[in-house]
């Protein structure tokens, strides 16, 4: 019995191969975009995490020698004095970074090289082995040391023990730096006493740009999810239609004694089979998408961290599992309503080929109520909610609520158009479009989400870019930056520069907790550079003169938000109270920042002297000055930064970061275009009985075809018009809610009408391309096929 039932059900797909194609492609694309984005994210994170964990860079305080390398005897002296330090020997071998560490003395979290079965640790202590990825090892020339491939390591990095590294790098008895364990004995003598030439560098509190990259990963994940939702809309529509079309068969099967439960089980089985197939195709496609996107991501991460990440993919088994699970889960989600309807279908329910559309019309009220509920929920979450989860819930409620509201809004607009139609063709056109709405609404909802995501993300990215450019102007206002090695050199440099440039701006900072939050206190001199470039998000009138007069302080947005500090509130710096008169944007900085005058800073932190200087000067003279400084002070490249170069580099990194977002934008729109194409193709066959009477009354097939294209364009334009405010709301939510919750700073929202117009043109082009085939098919429908409608042969 089961076999017979399955054969009958499967025969539907044999007779409707296009529907099967739509289902498989829709699901495959949804899975592909999701798993592709996840693959990119996982790979990029894995590479970066491996780099961070393996090298321990920035996690711990470090000791370096001002003179270059650290003699091994000094390391031993420090250990004997009670300093818990661990040696690192570092250098380049065949252009590859070689790092030697000491497993016995390294603090926890360092030298985490992979399988922690103890074997590797023992190997690293007892014998020289080079650990690296297979690729890196293949790049390495002939060396007389055993090699061991480890896929968990970052690319272009070789890890080994200190002794082997010293031999290979020719650094016998020398150590590059010392890692300082976080927990140190209380009684240890100060570093200056044991090694006066050494410098203790505190742990980095996190990379500014690294935080921006977290934002980038978050965007990618959100995009993957949106693409998946768009794909699931296609699947939902196709499954619904297939089940509706098979109603007569199901009714017959049941009338012949086939139990309903078995029927549902068979359909579920059939759908699982299709979803597994589509999931496998999707994961495969996702792999190619990820492979295409990854070089951009790799280039970006490389630019951001100065670390290589793998530009190629590893095919991880978890992708297969997660890809298949998401495909089956998505199908289950898309099919749930249809299966539920089937379970409740009376045995004698009539076969209605348009029941799909009729059902949608009947459930419009429920849909409207649900849409309203979600939109109200989104507003309430935006108003009252807090936390990242609330931010994402708001995004979801906004998108789904708007998507559900779309058919209702379009129906209302079309009904109004019918009422105001001048000619009968116009009236028929609007009324007919209204009738097509239930059949097209899923595709239009997919288009709405894709468009809104595009508008939202491009608004966010472009706002981000504008803000970032402004931020760079603010932070890199000086044409040239010089770093001194010590206080004495700093004083000489300052005197030297003051004679040659427009203005020298000393940069000095101290670390201090403000209201329990780690913060940096800056003490710049009073100068137009700050007044002109450091723009306040919120401030009292004439804030800069008041701050420069030493009466008040300015703080960054992060500190204001996290500590709940408002304009006029008081903060305490080194025991002295300051009123906050200005709050400025400080994008990318994870910690708090306070600006007071140079004089106040000198009074509060007398031991701190500026080692860095911003130099205001004629940009054309920067090169000449840097040559003079090299000659007169022996400064090398790392001590001098040309503002123009670093700005260009930062912007290039930023733009490359969002190349991936741009590619995903286009892919998501393409999926929505595919949804429209498939819906129109499906409707074409259902349309003939509706169009034949109109044709019979004297409208040519060619004109009907043209009207179909006009209809698709109009619906795309209406959807775009609704997608714009939705997308801008989405952008606002990302900038003002999600970003604030995730990273602590709020980015201003800018609007980009030209970008939106271009996007609308893309959407219309997608609709025209999608409608072209069905319209041509319709225009070329043979009169004999149209006549079948009148001969009751259909």
């Amino acid at each position: 019995m089961t076999n017979v039932g399955l054969l009958v059900l499967l025969s539907h797909w044999r007779r409707n191969p296009m529907q099967l194609f739509t289902l498989v492609v829709g699901l495959s694309l949804a899975t592909a975009l999701w798993s592709g984005v996840q693959a990119v994210n996982t790979e990029a994170r894995a590479s970066y995490d491996a780099a961070a964990e393996t090298l321990g860079e920035g996690m711990f305080a470090q000791i370096i020698a001002r003179t270059g390398t650290i003699p091994q005897e000094d390391f031993i002296a420090l250990r004997r004095a009670g300093w818990l330090v661990s040696p690192v020997v570092e250098g380049r071998l065949d252009g590859i970074r070689l790092i030697g560490t000491d497993v016995l003395t390294s603090p926890g979290g360092l030298t985490h090289v992979g399988p922690s079965d103890g074997k590797l640790t023992v190997d690293m202590i007892t014998s020289g082995i080079l650990f690296a990825t297979q690729e890196t090892l293949e790049r390495l020339g002939e060396v007389d040391v055993r090699k061991f491939p480890l896929s968990d390591l970052p690319p272009a990095v070789i890890l080994t023990d200190v002794g082997t590294a010293q031999i290979l790098l020719g650094l016998d008895g020398q150590i590059s730096r010392l890692i300082v364990a976080p927990q140190q004995p209380i009684t240890q003598p100060p570093l200056e006493v044991i090694a006066p030439n050494f410098e203790l560098i505190p742990p980095q509190s996190g990379s500014d740009v690294g935080r921006l990259t977290d934002s980038f990963h978050l965007n990618l994940t959100a995009f993957g999810l949106l693409s998946f939702v768009v794909g699931i809309f296609i699947v939902h529509g196709t499954i619904g239609l297939a089940l509706e079309q098979r109603r007569p068969v199901m009714r017959t099967l049941r009338a012949l004694g086939f139990p309903l439960v078995n029927l549902i089980a068979l359909i579920a089985f059939e759908l699982v089979g299709i979803s597994v197939l589509a999931g496998m195709i999707g994961v495969g496609l996702g792999y190619f998408i990820a492979a295409a996107l990854l070089p951009d991501v790799a280039a970006t991460i490389s630019g951001l961290y100065g670390q290589s990440i793998s530009g190629t993919l590893q095919f991880r088994p978890e992708w297969w599992v997660s890809g298949l699970l998401i495909a089956v889960g998505g199908t289950a989600l898309a099919a749930a309503a249809s299966l539920w309807n089937l379970a409740r279908m009376p045995l004698l329910a009539s076969a209605r080929p348009h029941a799909w559309a009729m059902q949608a019309r009947r459930s419009r009220l429920i849909q409207t109520v649900f849409a309203m509920f979600l939109l109200v929920a989104a507003c309430l979450l935006g108003w009252l909610g807090s936390g990242l989860a609330a931010g994402f819930a708001m995004l979801a409620a906004l998108l789904i609520g708007a998507a559900l509201a779309l058919p209702v809004i379009l129906d209302g607009l079309l009904a109004a158009a019918v009422r105001h139609a001048k000619s009968i063709i116009e009236e028929w056109f609007w009324a007919d479009t209204r009738q097509q709405l239930p059949g097209l609404s899923l595709a239009l909802m997919a288009l709405l989400i894709a468009m809104a995501a595009n508008v939202g993300v491009s608004t966010m990215v472009s706002s981000f870019r504008l803000t970032f450019t402004g931020f760079l102007d603010q932070r890199l206002a000086s044409e040239f930056y010089v770093y001194a090695d010590d206080a004495q050199q700093a004083a000489s440099l300052r005197a030297y520069l003051e004679l040659r440039v427009d203005k020298v701006l000393p940069i000095q900072s101290a670390n201090q907790d403000i209201r329990g939050l780690p913060s940096e206190i800056y003490g710049p001199i009073a100068h137009a550079t700050y007044r002109d470039n450091w723009l306040f998000l919120d401030a009292v009138p004439d804030a800069w003169p008041l701050i420069e007069a030493g009466q008040a302080a300015a703080i960054n947005e992060q500190l204001a938000r996290r500590a709940g500090i408002a304009i006029g509130d008081e903060i305490t710096i080194a025991g002295q109270p300051f009123k906050v008169f200005g709050i400025y944007g400080d994008y990318g900085n994870p910690i708090g920042q306070v600006i007071i005058t140079e004089a106040k800073f000198a009074a509060l932190f007398p031991d701190i002297f500026p080692l860095r200087f911003g130099v205001r000067m004629d940009p054309s003279r920067v090169t000449a000055l840097s040559l003079d400084l090299r000659k007169d002070f022996g400064l090398n490249e790392v001590n001098m930064i040309n503002q123009a170069g670093i700005k260009a580099f930062s912007l290039a990194v930023f733009d490359r970061t969002f190349t991936v977002t741009g590619a995903l934008n286009i892919l998501t729109l393409a999926v929505a275009g595919f949804a429209i194409l498939m819906s129109l193709l499906t409707l074409t066959t259902m349309r003939i009985p509706q169009l034949a009477p109109v044709w019979a009354q004297g409208i040519t097939r060619a004109r009907l075809g043209r009207l179909e294209i006009v209809r698709a364009v109009l619906l795309a334009l209406l959807t775009t018009a609704l997608a714009l405010p939705l997308g801008i709301s989405l952008g606002w939510t990302l900038l003002a809610v999600v970003n604030v919750e995730a990273f602590g700073w709020r980015l201003p929202l800018f609007l980009f009408p030209l970008d939106y117009a271009r996007l609308a043109a893309f959407a219309v082009a997608a609709a025209v391309i999608a409608a072209l085939w069905p319209a041509t098919k319709l225009a070329r429908t043979q009169p004999a096929d149209l006549l079948k409608v009148f001969a009751n042969e259909r």
């Binding site: 009968i424 009236e427 009738q435 009354q697 409208i699 040519t700 097939r701 009169p783 409608v789």
Partner: protein, 222 residues
Amino acid sequence: MLLSVSDLHKSYAGPDGHLSVLRGVKMRLARGETLALTGESGSGKSTLLHIIGGLDQPDSGIVAVDGVDIGAMDDAGRAGIRRDKVGVVFQQFNLIPSLTVASNIGFHARLSGRLDQNWIKELADRLGLFAQLGKYPEQLSGGQQQRVAIARTLASKPALILADEPTGNLDEETADKVMELMMTLAIETDCALLLVTHSHRLAGRMGRRLHLRAGQIECAEK
């Protein structure tokens, strides 16, 4: 002569080769005349009707409506004939589901630029559709839908009305009423009526009668 058909041939490609549906059909119909076309299923009645109505093309022969050979016309030309000269009533009614009854009735008349609101009101009144004007086709019974289809055809006052089994889906009593109305209105508007039917009883009410067998006019009766 309003309609003149001569030596009309039409065949379709089928699984067993070409199937000749019409083989040298010849007929004429004048304004104000009513003609019944009868024949067995598959005899070619509907094909002939469709060619006359400009819905299909003949393989050869001449079909002249108001002196114009529509067989030689392109798609746009035939669409013009359907719009301006001919009105067709189908067995399946074939109303436009997205339009109200009022819009359906006025559709053809507005399309051909011959909208006469008073005439439409009169038609709706006489066909008992006044109360249904704001409804959609799916809300009507079969008899009501057929009356709407007839009203739509008559509203544009075409020169030639083609009716393909117009009462085939109706019970006898309703069919008689609908037929009576259609004939009365056709005569009042001075148009020619060509009725395709299986029913000898209905055919007997027409002015003339043609019987089609295997694609050829077998006999003509007065």
